[in-house]
């Protein structure tokens, strides 16, 4: 554990070095939150849509936004650039597992993201007159469990897409495509239940639902009992599958690795 703890602390320290950078990123994130709140506020003024009233929607949007803020401040671009310019060669001479090392670095950013999330939640509460509390203690715990899986799940989806750099040497397009897919299929754009039912069911079966829709449903009490555990099981299934799949992909990636010059 010692190498990974140290990598975690190092990444935390780097975040401190680049705090201004992070702050600007979060301000941009806050703009998205504010605008989606404003849009839904207007839409819901004339009554519920698909079972969402304003209060519930506020809770949903805040959670979906919070989940999207997790694990974004450190990691994928850094890793992508190191693969593209060949600096990954020096990473490979270290006696640490590459995947775990990158995860430890990503966790280093989490501490700051949590602060940003709390600040945003407080702001929403103050300016919009509160958000719904979790639907009971049980649901709160289920939400916490789901949130604990969001962090590694998000990491592994980002990690896998970043690995594409070993083949394409280009990351921008991959990152854009992934962000768009995640935004739609995680329920970040609109709740999955408001989508056409075939699209909603498809999204629910994909790994991305575990990034926002699942924790939100648990928090708001839209899924409880067996239904809740089923959602958690799907989330866990994808986490484990992708975590192991990434290791297989990594082996292929190393075969494709070309380090130019020096």
């Amino acid at each position: 554990m010692r190498p990974y703890r140290s990598l975690f602390l190092m990444s935390l320290r780097r975040m401190l070095t680049y705090r201004l950078n992070a702050l600007i990123g979060w301000l941009g994130g806050a703009a998205i939150l504010i605008s989606s709140l404003a849009v839904w506020n207007a839409l819901l003024r004339n009554g519920d849509i698909g079972g969402y009233d304003w209060e519930t929607m506020k809770g949903y949007l805040l959670i979906a936004w919070a989940m999207s803020a997790v694990g974004t401040s450190y990691g994928d671009w850094h890793m992508a650039n190191r693969i593209r310019d060949g600096a990954v060669a020096t990473d490979l001479t270290k006696p640490v597992d590459y995947q775990s090392a990158r995860f430890a670095e990503q966790l280093g950013g989490l501490a700051f993201e949590l602060v940003a999330i709390v600040v945003a939640a407080l702001a929403v509460i103050v300016f919009t007159g509160g958000i719904p509390a979790p639907a009971g203690l049980g649901q709160g715990l289920l939400f916490a469990l789901s949130f604990a899986m969001v962090v590694p799940l998000k990491f592994i989806i980002w990690y896998i897409t970043t690995m594409v750099c070993f083949w394409t040497q280009n990351y921008l397009g991959v990152a854009w495509a992934r962000d768009a897919v995640v935004w739609v299929f995680s329920g970040g754009l609109i709740p999955l239940s408001l989508m056409p039912s075939w699209l909603g069911s498809l999204a629910a079966a994909l790994p991305f639902a575990g990034l926002a829709a699942t924790p939100a449903a648990l928090y708001l009490g839209q899924a409880s009992g067996t239904e809740a555990w089923k959602l958690l099981a799907v989330q866990a299934f994808w986490l484990i599958t992708l975590w192991l799949g990434a290791r297989l992909l990594w082996r292929g990636a190393l075969r494709a690795l070309t380090v130019h010059g020096g």
Partner: protein, 333 residues
């Protein structure tokens, strides 16, 4: 027992072949063509503990690729490789603990943190004990002058300072074998000397060294064995002195002639060349055909010599010939 053992080590890179411009790129999408490039072509290597090996060859000869295969960074296309009983690409992490690697053209330090932080992170990565770490730092400080660099941000270091810090990073865990890929590139003379001195020190500690370099001073100062590769193949592997014997056949004697007609010796000694203008001339000859004494006595028969000096073959000349493609692979091994 060999420390490094490679048999038929081969690495082929596949590069996309694109016609120029946007049109070429679009065409490549439909009709994918690749070119196979043989970076390392069936190399056999045996390195014994405590050796210092220079690994030289022109740009693109496959030096860095070999190092990366030995370090477990690249997966070989064919052939086998073992470093201290470990296959590097299979058991990368075990191999990483045994080896130290320096890439002169990149840093392995964390760019935006002070040197000290990078070193403590490496301490944790290699799971070094605190007393061992402190002892190593003290030792490295002595030879590399690390102390003054410790609090400096890596991106603010000069190239020479960065190389010193990088050397410390590569050697912190006291690896049994160290690969140095152009360790003196871009350094000024005084820093170069320091680095070379440090490398000699390492050897006396019993560390095995393998270094790729374009700097022939590095080779003569540090190494006793030289491996020359070109186009991914080995063209020479042996002691430095042997290489001079084998390849540096041509010798020169510079003469100051007081009087006479030294050109006349060409008639008596076929194959010898005389160049230059009187009174200073140079006689070039094949050292296996004639001895220096024979040349001098021949000249003395036709001229009077004032001063003379014999030019020893420099490895520089040999390596330069390799770079220029003058040495043929099959003519040697």
């Amino acid at each position: 027992m060999g420390l490094v053992k490679a048999r038929g080590l081969t690495k082929v890179f596949r590069r996309p072949l694109k016609d120029p411009g946007l049109r070429g790129s679009l065409k490549h999408l439909v009709q994918r063509k690749f070119k196979e490039q043989m970076a390392v072509d069936g190399i056999d290597l045996d390195i014994e503990p405590g050796e210092a090996v220079a690994y030289v060859g022109p740009n693109g000869a496959g030096k860095s690729t070999t190092i990366k295969l030995l370090a477990g960074i690249l997966v070989p296309t064919a052939g086998t490789v073992e470093v201290i009983g470990v296959r590097p690409h299979v058991d990368r992490m075990t191999n990483a603990r045994n080896i130290g690697v320096l890439f002169g053209q990149r840093t392995q330090l964390w760019w935006d943190l002070p040197v000290r932080e990078s070193l403590t992170l490496l301490r944790d990565m290699y799971k070094l004990s605190e007393p061992f770490y402190r002892k190593r730092i003290e030792r490295l400080d002595g030879v590399l002058g690390l102390g003054e660099l410790m609090p400096v941000l890596v991106r603010k270091l000069s190239l020479g300072q960065r190389m010193r810090a990088d050397l410390a990073a590569a050697l912190l865990h006291q690896p049994k074998i160290v690969y140095l890929d152009e360790p003196t590139i871009g350094l000024d003379i005084s820093v170069k000397d320091k680095v070379r001195e440090f490398l000699r020190d390492l050897r006396t500690d019993g560390t095995t060294l393998m270094l790729t370099t374009h700097d022939l001073g590095d080779i003569e100062d540090v190494c006793e064995r030289i491996i020359i590769i070109d186009e991914g193949r080995k063209i020479f592997d042996g002691p430095l002195a042997d290489m001079k014997d084998r390849f540096a056949r041509v010798r020169r004697i510079h003469l100051q002639v007081a009087s006479g007609y030294p050109q006349k010796i060409v008639e008596k000694l076929p194959g010898v060349e005389v160049s230059g203008e009187l009174p200073e001339i140079t006689v070039t000859f094949d050292r296996f055909a004639y001895t220096a004494g024979r040349i001098i006595s021949a000249v003395l028969e036709v001229a009077e010599i004032g001063e003379f000096h014999l030019e020893e073959p420099a490895i520089e000349d040999v390596v330069r010939k390799v770079y220029a493609g003058e040495l043929l692979r099959d003519a040697t091994v």
